[in-house]
Symmetry: C2
Subunit: 483 residues, 2 copies
């Protein structure tokens, strides 16, 4: 993505910069004070930023920034805190590009921004996880380990972090509840556990970007290249969100949304989102403090995570800090500028976020987890056994899973592992397996699932591709060779 963008910025001359040199003072350039720098923060007119001792005029670059106008958060100030959080910047090509915009040095004696590592407090992770990015951490289980257990072990559950993992003291933790423009209160962890009924709900959580690796084969997208393992299933124990919401009295019907702010932050403020009040009032929407019977791990939201069964991962907010009953959706950038139902026509520079509804519910999905893609099978065996998972959002159950070895000319129905779940409240994935005659397998084997609303998966990725690689749910195809 950077490469593509940088290739397009021909008017910006390049020179090669070693990573350690970025922002070093340069003898032949003018010096600026923070006071002067702070006046250059007007998009379209003049935008300066500081990195280390370097001062840069990025006015021309703002429109091309792959992270959108988030770059303006650093306008007239230091970009160091952002680059420490969003490590994608830390590569030579980006440094070169920035250095080409250099206009001066920070005046000697002006205070430098601290360069500490905000990720130094992150927990250790299981060696089973495929790590996509270390800071912020994003990792998933390989597909073939994913369907070993219907309840994903806590330390093998995919981790999708946007920011450093907050360090929280459970003894001083307070959950804030705010009624917009009215009352507020707060609860300690002990309050939560003693004042409200404790309930458990089994629910899968899937990242909106799952299978983005495949989306990238169709066209470049923006985000972590999940292979299919950005999903897991657990029993979450905690208290019902609706019990908390009702704590201050009957809920004013003007409150249509529940905003949730988290403890993980960047210099612009907290991570967060909102969900519609109807979903917040569902008996299965819980503030969880346990995952599969254990204290919630730090990577999964310790001490309190919101579980919104049937909704996309990002609404299942970790490290919940504050809950606000509101007339409107969350004003936070994480909610307003991402995770929306994008069209294939939307692009990084041309998307009307207001027009695109947030992803809440999710479409039907399935993945062949075993055998792994690009492996071989013994063609002397009569059958090859395939297994995997299927899932649909909104509590819709999976009614059928089918495999094809001839790209949809014919379908073989898989055995679906049946589990007792109620219609409209099937929050968990389903496992399936199928034996396919080895002689039928030419090269490609694809799977599709059908949910109880009759929705299947699209045949081709092409028609659903979007620049963020969200909701990639076309038939999942793997390629096998004979041995």
């Amino acid at each position: 993505m950077w490469r593509k963008l940088l290739a397009g910025t021909a008017m910006i001359s390049m020179k090669s910069v070693k990573c350690s040199d970025l922002g070093s003072a340069m003898n032949d350039l003018p010096e600026y004070t923070w006071e002067e720098i702070r006046t250059h923060k007007t998009p379209g007119q003049s935008v300066w930023i500081v990195m280390g001792n370097g001062v840069y005029d990025i006015t021309r670059f703002v429109e091309m920034h792959p992270g959108g106008d988030k770059i303006l958060l650093a306008a007239g100030s230091s970009a160091d805190p952002f680059w420490n959080l969003y490590r994608i910047h830390k590569q030579e090509k980006v440094y070169d590009m920035l250095e080409s915009l250099r206009i001066g040095n920070l005046k000697a004696g002006e205070k430098l921004e601290a360069m500490n590592d905000p990720f130094s407090g992150d927990p250790n992770r299981s060696a089973h996880l495929i790590t996509h990015t270390e800071k912020a951490y994003n990792g998933e289980l390989p597909n073939d380990l994913l369907t070993e257990k219907i309840l994903t072990p806590n330390n093998e559950f995919f981790v999708r972090n946007h920011l450093p993992v907050p360090v929280v003291d459970e003894n001083t933790y307070e959950l804030e509840l705010i009624l917009e423009d009215e009352k507020c209160t707060s609860f300690s962890l002990k309050d939560l556990k003693s004042k409200f009924p404790i309930v458990s709900v089994e629910s899968s959580i899937q990242c909106a970007g799952n299978r983005r690796f495949e989306a990238n084969q169709q066209g470049v997208t923006r985000g972590v290249e999940w292979r299919g393992g950005a999903i897991g299933n657990a029993i979450w124990t905690g208290v019902r969100l609706r019990d908390i919401l009702k704590y201050l009295g009957e809920i004013n019907p003007e409150y249509k949304h529940v905003q949730i702010e988290a403890l993980d932050t960047d210099p612009n403020g907290p991570f967060g989102t909102s969900i519609p009040i109807e979903k917040a009032m569902d008996s299965d929407t819980v503030l969880a403090f346990e995952m599969n019977g254990e204290t919630l791990p730090r990577d999964h939201g310790f001490p309190v995570r919101l579980i919104v069964p049937g909704y996309v991962g990002v609404r299942n907010i970790k490290w919940v800090k504050r809950i606000t009953l509101s007339t409107s959706e969350s004003p936070l950038i994480w909610h307003k500028r991402d995770y929306r139902l994008f069209s294939p026509n939307d692009s990084l520079g041309n998307v009307n976020f207001e027009e695109r509804q947030p992803v809440y519910d999710m479409p039907v999905q399935s993945v062949i987890c075993s055998p792994l893609d690009s492996t071989s099978f013994n063609s002397k065996n009569e059958n090859v056994n395939f297994k995997g998972f299927a899932y649909s959002g909104g509590g819709r159950g999976i009614v059928r899973v089918e495999l094809t070895t001839d790209h949809g000319e014919s379908w073989t129905e898989a055995q679906l592992e049946k589990r007792p779940q109620r219609l409209g409240r099937r929050w968990s994935w389903a496992f399936w397996n199928a034996n396919i005659p080895a002689s039928d397998i030419e090269k490609e084997v694809c799977v599709r699932a059908i949910d109880d609303a009759g929705h299947g998966q699209p045949e081709s990725l092409k028609s659903i591709w979007n620049y963020r690689g969200l909701l990639t749910n076309s038939w999942h195809c793997i390629h096998l060779t004979r041995k």
Copy 2:
């Protein structure tokens, strides 16, 4: 379908029979009494039926009956009442086939089954409706009239009847409520209107077989050949089903289903179905006695119709007679043997109904209503205007509608008529329109809609085709010529 089946029955010799001759006494055949005939009703061994004065041994034919084992309802007795209800039988080819199975005459003096017309009390219908079958009546509005009004006029709302329209006296009508193995009560129409709060809900109703005409282009299916108009939208006024269900006290949590029996019947019993208790308890599930502010028309369920927003048409039971809170799904054949999520591999003779979940919720749908298929456009105009409807089941709203003139290489976003509706409770269709440059239109124009769970419509009909032609929701394509 009959033709295909009859072609396969080579061992049954054919002779041509005039319709009026069917069942006439024939001189050279033995005579049987009802007492004898009644002993021949054992499938697999010996099955006789009577038509008029004719006695037929249909043992060999039972398996091939397009209506499945419903034919056994007439085993050892007269088939006349069934043929009067299911008029598809009344064609020369069927008569020929039956006469080839003739074995005798009804003994002189045995009482003949009455041959009255059970459809003689049916109401008149609007001339705007395209009539597919007269008895039972099935008719739809042409596509181009469908999107004239967001609330479909009552007399132009598609009619899907399975049986004759019941003749009901509103003064003596009683709605029965039964708690399985416990209590029961009944309500007059006056009771319903005076004992419970009156509510209104706007909801579209779509037949599961809508667009079956297209499914038949892919392969022969069984059912009415709807063109896209088996959908309508209305405001339904009545009382909440949950208020009725609670009338006899708190609901025993063992009751997982609400069975509904209707007043339309065949000799086997009433039409009917069931819905899960969760849906029955939804505040928008109503027993309606008004449609768009008028008394419910006879064709649409007078005096009381169950409205189950977001659910397939067949669950919106007309002419409601009896409601039973039960531990199990409806035992009625209409529920158990049809309207299920069939696989492309299921066939008339080979389907495990127990394995297939009933269709409740429905997948996303859209139709180009104007221009009509196979018409021409003025290629001198700059643009051609397209309009139509989009709908998804389960209360999911439509977030986007897109058209393509190059079969999915590129998409143009349509203008969606925006109406205030709550997330998860968008029960009504959405209208859309789009201007497409005339120069872009080669021949085919297709539409697809995306609902708020991110579900789109499948590209090709092939992979979703099933023998009943249910849930046909692939991209809707029309073909236009230049003029």
